[in-house]
């Protein structure tokens, strides 16, 4: 499938393939293929203020892509543009293209509801509904008409994928708010998974959690990536280094617009970054 495409690959893609080759078992080299999400010329405006400018990035399938950068550089804005949550801000305007499997989700006439089902999101602070654990996870599938035993299966499967099933299987009807912070966050992950998305966006999912809960979330991410594509925003560089396959570095321009300054394989970014600003940030010389 990729024989004739070899010549088209950039240096970056070759590097990525080299890294994947190192990660996977002998004999199986994945093709890079088409990116799961391709961002082209993305600009997000809040009124007259341009929050992120000219973003171009290809997010590959079944990998964890981390977006790092100092506070206020637009990481969250970029993430939220990917599932059109930026639409919720009054006066927000998005320009450019975001292609999910080749189809632009920013095009007029696109069903936003369906986009958000396919691209799920987990937020910085766990935000379970004040309902039972079951009703939280079942919320999405119920919208699609899933009922009865099928619904119960979906809920169980999602909770297992979120590594929470064993802990809550006996108290599914209890309020989700009675759980610990880390458990609540996993309920939110289960809730996002229950509608069978293809991509999961995570906006600093562990920043409000203690170190142990954080590690569990990171383990969970590595398990989930086998089934989903994950994009995670984090201000914690160690976390990015631990968990992600690729890292995108963002920074704020003097006019406070966020831009992407480097994107590459994580191991390489953290040992031999190409951009001096990246190196400054990673080594802590920045801010």
């Amino acid at each position: 499938m990729n024989g004739g495409a070899v010549a088209r690959r950039t240096n970056e893609e070759a590097l990525i393939e080299a890294r994947f080759g190192a990660l996977l078992p002998e004999g199986s080299v994945p093709a890079m293929g088409d990116p799961k999400i391709a961002v082209q010329g993305l600009n997000v405006f809040y009124g007259n203020f341009r929050a992120v400018g000219d973003i171009a990035i290809n997010i590959p399938d079944h990998r964890i892509t981390a977006i790092i950068g100092p506070s206020g550089c637009g990481k969250s804005t970029l993430l939220r543009a990917l599932n059109r949550m930026t639409d919720l801000v009054p006066g927000a305007r998005t320009e450019g293209r975001v292609l999910l499997d080749g189809k632009d989700i920013l095009a007029p006439g696109v069903d936003v509801v369906e986009v958000r089902r396919r691209i799920g999101m987990v937020f910085q602070r766990a935000n379970p509904f004040p309902k039972s654990i079951f009703d939280n996870v079942a919320y999405g599938p119920r919208l699609y008409g899933t009922r009865g035993s099928q619904l119960e299966e979906v809920v169980e499967r999602s909770l297992r994928s979120a590594a929470l099933w064993e802990e809550v299987k006996d108290k599914l009807r209890h309020s989700a708010l009675a759980l610990s912070g880390g458990q609540q966050q996993r309920v939110c992950i289960a809730r996002a998974i229950a509608v069978e998305p293809q991509v999961i966006l995570m906006d600093e999912p562990a920043s409000a959690l203690d170190p142990i809960a954080t590690l569990r979330i990171e383990e969970l991410m590595r398990q989930l990536v086998n089934q989903y594509t994950i994009v995670v925003v984090t201000h914690n560089m160690q976390q990015a280094a631990r968990v992600s396959d690729l890292t995108a570095m963002m920074m704020m321009r003097p006019d406070r617009t966020g831009e992407l300054i480097e994107f590459g394989v994580t191991a390489q970014m953290f040992t031999r970054p190409k951009d001096k600003r990246t190196e400054d940030y990673i080594t802590g010389r920045f801010g």
Binding site: L88, M121, N127, F129, Y139, G140, L143
Partner: protein, 330 residues
Amino acid sequence: MNGESAREAAHRPPWGGRTLFRIWRHGDLVSDVLVRLSSIAVVGLVGFIGYELWLHSAESRVAFGLQFLVTAQWDPSIKLVFGALPFIQGTLVTSLVALVIALPMGLGTAIFLAEMAPDWLRQPVGFLVEMLAAVPSVVYGLWGLFAFIPSFVRPLALGLNAGLGFLPVLAGPVFGPSRLAASLVLTIMILPTIAAVSRDVFSAIPQSQREAALAVGATHWEMISQVLVPYGLSGFLGAAVLALGRALGETMAVTMVIGNTLDLSPSLLHPGYTMASLIANEFTEATGNLYQSALIEIGLVLFFITLILNFLARLLVWRVSRRAAGETRA
């Protein structure tokens, strides 16, 4: 700085209350006492109202006891028997019908204002809804009597009677002033209350809940009806209770459109009487101490009911803001 403990400092008002008075060279203590006295006076006023009502209804209370609440007779001229039941019923019926209609309408209006309307529309429409609440009761009564009833209520009543007149609650004959008219006017009058309080409730719901629902692929309406409304339910109930309290005590508009007739039939299309309209209608004509004391006792009943409802309403609305605050803290 002035020898205050940390706890005292925490309780200070945002603007340093005592420092304000300290600026006045003299009378620092005097101002403090005055302020305290005023507050005590206000609190005492409530108790005093209850006390006076209790005192001046003594004759009736002694004469009839608790039977007063369940007697269906009101005979000021011959037998001197007074029972509040028809008026309690009239009040409850008109208020509850008004609430049943106004609640979904008010909620829908609040949803439109809080979750749907663009900024440029929200202000003017919100203003109009508030102005509805500002119109005096007499003006509602005047308009109700001469415009609303002939143009809307009476045709509606005729239609309902024609189609569903076999139901006792819609039995004829059809009058102009009626319980239905009172209920509909009350609906218009309490709707702003429900809309305003519900709108506040929606504002108190944290944005993270909306994001959570939408991020899973819910439609706008699904987010509102399945996440926001359950979240703020106790607040909406509080709005309903508050509105009910207002409806129960409404006097002028009701007395001008309800017909002020002691009618024991269950039909909405007949004229009726409420506690408030009874007092308005008969108080100045009340001859004899027993008669007047019976009317005052009705006032006492009204006082207690609205007291309880008000308390309940505040409690319910307070619960929503507590829940929202608790979650953002976590």
